[in-house]
Subunit: 88 residues, 2 copies
């Protein structure tokens, strides 16, 4: 039961970034999304991945690899659209 | 060493939301921040808190209480500014 809650928690806090990625892709804007948040979060996710490897925790490892992929994509789109539409 | 990485990871993915909260407060706008992301993430954090209580993990518990507080504040500001400045 304890593991079930942990599994649901990891699933939700991982997939949460998918609607953000979709929204950013659709609206072509992430001006309101904090650059400092994305950078800090992404560095944190690298540490979670190291922790997942060292503690042999596959759920921690895989959940954070997916979260890292989603957040890196959001950061990439933010920088891409910022650059493309700067001045407008 | 393993715990150190976990501690750094938890610290970074927790404080990451502070610059987002500040930015939203300063710009009075969170239009680009996905509502679905905030809701899904917040529900996920509740499950992390339950998991932290059940597994007697104080770091999981406290990190997620802070993350929940920050994200709930971002959601509140998003809804507040959306409502206040709607139509502009």
């Amino acid at each position: 039961m304890q593991d079930l809650f942990g599994f649901i928690a990891a699933f939700l806090t991982t997939i949460a970034f998918f609607p953000q990625l979709l929204k950013t892709y659709r609206t072509k804007s992430a001006d309101d999304v904090s650059f400092a948040m994305l950078i800090t979060f992404i560095i944190g996710l690298f540490f979670w991945i190291i922790y997942g490897i060292q503690s042999h925790s596959k759920p921690v490892l895989f959940a954070n690899i997916i979260t890292l992929t989603l957040n890196s994509s959001i950061l990439y789109l933010k920088l891409f659209y910022n650059n493309k539409y700067s001045g407008t």
